[in-house]
């Protein structure tokens, strides 16, 4: 069944794959090595290796502007991102389950409404949302992020999970009902384990998007002590003054580590999930 490659074919394949791999990872290597270069080398030459090595970019970058270090920003970001991801997964699953498996009045209209909010550009809703959150007294806290996540305000994930639930055969639900499951235990015992790949991809997306989100965090968070990493990175970028790019590069390197780790650790569940989906025969 599997074609055997001879040594010559294998060599070509590996050379091509390695070349492509290096091409893809080049920007990251450049980013990492640039954190050891002074400003004029970062922009003035295309060499990868720095001529004059600057060692203290990570140290100085971590200190930030003096008042708060990047340690604070990282803790803040985790405080913001983890609840958002967890709440999004729980709430989106429940809502998606409802839309996928139950019949209730106005279902179609509500579903259309939910999908239509997906089309609203952020720029249109930012001021009404801002005023709403201000009236709730939620500004300058992480509530504008976590509470909407708790109430499934991310239609993209609901849509994604609905599609996934629809792909699971109803026969499973029926046999579970015969075995004595109610509608909630069907979800928890039967459907959720099958949903793992969808849940993991939703979780990873939400994690990376929230982690990197700049505009919303900037609008809702005022105090520097509550800044997230995305805000911290751009904190010293002024149009008229030179920034210490090596410090910003160094912090960017650190800032992408959690995203990369999450992706690699969660990767195996994609595969596992896909392998166990569906009924045979």
């Amino acid at each position: 069944m599997k074609k055997e490659y001879n040594i010559f074919e294998k060599t070509i394949m590996y050379v091509l794959l390695s070349a492509f791999g290096i091409f893809m990872i080049y920007p990251l290597i450049w980013l990492f090595l640039s954190s050891f270069k002074p400003n004029n080398e970062i922009f003035g030459s295309v060499d990868l290796l720095p001529k004059n090595v600057v060692w203290d970019a990570f140290y100085n970058g971590w200190k930030g502007s003096g008042q708060f270090s990047f340690g604070v920003f990282f803790v803040n970001t985790f405080e913001l991102v983890i609840p958002v991801v967890v709440f999004t997964l729980i709430s989106s699953t429940l809502v998606a389950y409802g839309f996928a498996r139950f019949k209730f009045p106005l279902k179609k209209i509500l579903f259309t409404l939910m999908i239509s909010t997906l089309m609203l550009p952020n720029a249109v809703i930012i001021i009404p949302r801002y005023i709403l959150f201000k009236n709730f007294d939620w500004l300058n806290s992480y509530l504008p992020f976590t509470i909407p996540a708790l109430f499934a305000c991310y239609p993209f994930f609901i849509f994604m999970l609905v599609q996934f639930f629809r792909g699971l055969p109803r026969d499973l639900d029926e046999s579970a009902t015969i075995d004595g499951c109610n509608s909630f235990t069907i979800l928890v015992r039967i459907l959720l384990p099958l949903c793992k790949p969808a849940l993991f991809s939703a979780g990873i997306f939400q994690f990376i998007w929230t982690w990197n989100d700049f505009f919303n965090s900037m609008i809702y968070i005022n105090s520097v002590k509550k800044y997230t990493v995305a805000l911290g990175l751009r904190m010293s970028l002024d149009t008229t003054t030179a920034a210490n790019w090596n410090e910003i590069m160094a912090m960017s390197v650190i800032a992408i580590i959690p995203c990369v780790l999450i992706f690699f650790f969660a990767q195996k569940y994609f595969v596992e999930g896909i392998a166990t989906t569906g009924i045979k025969g």
Binding site: N135, F215, D238
Partner: protein, 455 residues
Amino acid sequence: MKKPVRLLSMACILVLLGTSFSACGSSSNAPADQSTGQAAASSQAAASEPAKNITMRFAWWGSDARHQATLAAIDAYKQKNPNVTIEGEYQGYDGYQQKLMTQIAGGSAPDLIQFDYIWNQDLAVQGDNFVDFNTKTDVDLTAFPEKVLKEYCTVNGKLIGLPMGTNGFGLDINKKFFEKYGLSVDTEWTWDKFIEEGRKIHAKDKEAYLFSTDPSALPIVVFDPYIRSKTGAYWLNDDYKVTATKEEMIEAFTTIKELFESGTAQPLGESALYNTKLEQMPKFINGQIGSSLEWSGTVGKYKDVLKPENFTVAKPVTVKDGKDQSIAFKPSMLLGVYSKSQDVDEAVKFANWFLNDQDASMILTDSRSIPTSETAKKVLVDANKVDMDIAKVVDFTLKNPAAAPPVALSNAEVFEIEKDVCQKVAYSKITPEQAADELTNRVQAKLDELKAKAK
């Protein structure tokens, strides 16, 4: 079994909808009333009992150096006035304006706001959001040049902000480049002479250019100053009329054309990649660009990449035998006090201290360009605490500052047309004659529209 569930779910939906609507309705009023109540209470308390603790928010954008200097100044103020705590809300320039506009729309802007005078009109549209400094006694307005306050900081008769620093226009020079091609850094350039030398340099070395500019900066760098220098007036006026003649415009456009044809200016195709980020352009860093016309606020970043010993400044390029040798000028940024602040008077007091006080200026130095306040500037100059190149540009400018541009000239749509026409000339898509006609017709049409709207 099924029916009760359906009824229950209906009920739930209704209740949820109901509460969410009523929540919006009631909460929009309640906290506002509460906060105004608190405001009244706290200001009364402050009057009777000076030790009353006050917390204010101060928003600014900037670089690390500015953040650190400002935070240090805030600390110094706290030591003098232990009851006043000021929280800095600082960030980079990206998104600052959007955030400020959103905050003002939501009525929750910081008490002290750093802003750019270019936003004056946009801010004015959103209502009276700034305290009129003319009505406050706690602030020393005599320290600021009256012309600046009147022309750049006053909107509808209200003094909405105080200038924090002065920005002058100058020629930023790579000294090494000038030495290499035998040019004197003290030359007072005219466009003719500039193009003549630029042509020679480019003929010697195909990779070297005497001058570089962003495509989007052509109007402010060449066209506007050319007409002003030539005629002594801007090319349009406050009465929404294009005033420059066709001949004058043709001359200015011909200069743009020659700048690029002679190889004096780097081709726009190259410089466009580094729009407003000349300090990131390899050619500039490696010394193949001789000069650039810039606001003094950018001196720091160019000096940083070129190394201070290779950098100097000179007066901007003018027109030979022009009527006007004045130099463009603007406040680098303004400091305003939010009118909905709970402690307007304390905020005004702080603003006055921040801009005029000796100790404050010694801490802040030139983190916001050379201070506009005469008292602050004198302290810094006496203590030799300012960047000499920035000081030089500002000095040139203050000796002969240009009048403020007409409001219509900073209109975004007018600017867009001007930019478009200038670029067409630079890319040799149209002749200077065609450009003069196109600019006059398109801008006049837009101005008529604006005038009708203004009435």
